[in-house]
């Protein structure tokens, strides 16, 4: 079954998807693409699929709502990935364990399952 994206227009719909950020008139890149009046003059920007690990942690307790992760709760990894020359994005981290993670390691974008019906975005250590 095809998983539905957790939100629309969060990443591109193509063979090699990428996050959708915004380019401000000043040239600065932001993520996510702003909504409402804040979007005025902001050009959609396809963010790089590759970056480096900026920081990370593991979520070891089940968050309260609005968290909608599957039951029973499983700890998950998250962190920030620096997309060179663009922006540092917060993201789930998949396909590895906490002990694998090192500051500055190469990471790549991936669309990952979130629950039984939905997908979210994530990064994983780049395959050598």
């Amino acid at each position: 079954m095809q998983l539905e994206p957790i939100a629309e227009n969060l990443w591109t719909n193509e063979a090699e998807p990428a996050l959708i950020g915004g380019r401000l008139p000043s040239g600065k890149i932001v993520f996510p693409y702003p909504s409402g009046d804040a979007a005025e003059g902001v050009e959609p920007w396809r963010l790089s699929r590759k970056g480096t690990l900026w920081s990370w942690t593991r979520q070891d307790f089940q968050p309260k709502e609005p968290f909608e992760g599957p039951e029973p709760f499983q700890p998950y990894l998250l962190g920030y990935v620096e997309l060179p020359g663009e922006v540092i994005v917060e993201t789930r981290i998949v396909d590895c364990v906490l002990e694998d993670l090192k500051l500055g390691m190469p990471m790549e974008f991936v669309v990952a399952p979130f629950d039984a019906t939905r997908a979210t975005y994530a990064f994983r250590p780049e395959k050598a």
Binding site: A7, G21, W54, T57, R58, D60, E65, F67, G85, E86
Partner: protein
């Protein structure tokens, strides 16, 4: 601008007090502060106060007395207490009143705060996917800092160990028994590298401060400490703050650095002149990073400072002498004022088992919170 003094300080014990509302804890603290100052409610010219989760402050007049005074509600998140203090001070400095009240109180449900994305202008998916937690922010900030500046997990543990040791001697603290380093390091992980004992918990409590003009201090012969400066600042561009789906690649300033600089300038002194400091310690890593952000040491020096016990009550710069948020918990509206309360206690030499030796002369407090703001207050004796 006329000098402004603290002449009375009151506190309702932090922690959990079932059956007493947050505001009633506030009234308790106000009465204690007035008794300490030797004044009556009718002497108070104006009041500023608030809470994050326990309602408005101004209806305290029902309990305290309908004297007709202006009572301004402050709702400024983690800076509620700091903003109330800054406003009360300005009212006296402007010459409009001789006595003013600053009060903060709170009562939070148990467990981590669960913020709603739309309250912070963020998309729903950010909360749904489990990335909008304050505990994660602190873990992510200290994780990177530890890698960049060589801070060990043991040092994180030492901060918490010190907090619980100091809390033993503070009547208002919530956690009042020591916890050893091994227990702290081996307690359940919350967000790597931070364990359960390295985090403060939302709590309850209240603090009230009575501020007065120099004229009133002389009239009362009060045991006064001078407010040398108060500065509240919000975040500059490029800073890394709580609830940030993205961060600028150009590393900018920090609200704490701005507030600290402004407070030192206003007071006309520097970090080397401070004899005791209360620094925001939402978790162990925050205290470590805030030591540097407030100008007390260089990034990375904390490893040596903690090993050598320099931030102990008897050290060269005692930090969080009442156990800070780690031992007291964090009732948001009261937390920043608790730091100023503790500094008032220290400068008056009333700290008992936690008293900083050799008559401290200058005391520093720093509160930090969402969505990226800091408040600093310097007191002098």
């Amino acid at each position: 601008m006329e000098d402004v003094y603290i002449i009375g300080a009151g506190i309702h014990p932090f922690g959990r007090t079932d059956g007493r509302s947050g505001r009633d804890q506030g009234v308790f603290a106000v009465r204690q502060a007035m008794a300490d100052a030797g004044i009556e409610w009718t002497d108070v010219g104006c009041a500023y106060g608030g809470s994050a989760a326990a309602g408005s402050a101004d209806i305290m007049v029902n309990e305290l007395g309908l004297t007709g005074l202006p009572f301004i509600n402050v709702a400024n998140g983690c800076a509620t207490g700091g903003s109330a203090l800054a406003s009360a001070r300005n009212a006296i400095a402007a010459g409009e009143f001789d006595v003013a009240l600053a009060v903060g109180f709170d009562k939070h449900p148990r467990g981590a705060f669960n913020a709603k994305p739309r309250d912070y202008g963020l998309p729903e998916w950010y909360g749904q996917t489990g990335m909008m937690l304050t505990t994660q922010f602190f873990a992510l900030k200290i994780q990177r800092y530890m890698q960049l500046y060589g801070i060990s997990r043991e040092t994180l543990g030492r901060v918490a160990e010190k907090a619980f040791r100091n809390g033993v001697h503070a009547d208002h603290a919530w956690r009042r028994s020591p916890v050893d380093l091994e227990t702290i390091l081996n307690s359940p992980m919350v967000n790597d590298p931070l364990t359960k004992y390295m985090f403060c918990a939302p709590a309850e409590g209240a603090v009230a401060l009575i501020l007065a003009s120099g004229k009133k201090v002389r009239e009362l012969g009060a045991d006064a400490v001078k407010i040398a400066s108060v500065a509240v600042r919000t975040r500059p561009p490029g800073s890394f703050e709580v609830f940030a789906p993205s961060v600028d690649i150009e590393n900018g300033g920090k609200p704490t650095i701005l507030a600290s600089k402004a407070a030192f300038e206003q007071a006309g002194i520097g970090p080397e002149d401070i004899s005791v400091a209360q620094l925001q310690d939402t978790e162990s890593g925050a205290e470590i990073m805030h030591m540097a952000e407030n100008g007390f040491c260089k990034d990375g020096d904390q490893e040596q400072w903690l090993r050598e016990g320099r931030t102990e009550v008897t050290g060269t710069l005692p930090v969080n002498t009442d156990g800070g948020c780690l031992a007291c918990g964090e009732p948001i509206g009261a937390s920043g004022l608790r730091q100023v309360y503790e500094n008032t206690v220290q400068l008056r030499g009333r700290g008992g088992g936690r008293q900083v030796p050799n008559n401290p002369k200058a005391a520093y407090s720093h509160v930090y919170g969402a969505p990226g703001l800091s408040g600093v207050c310097i007191l002098e004796r």
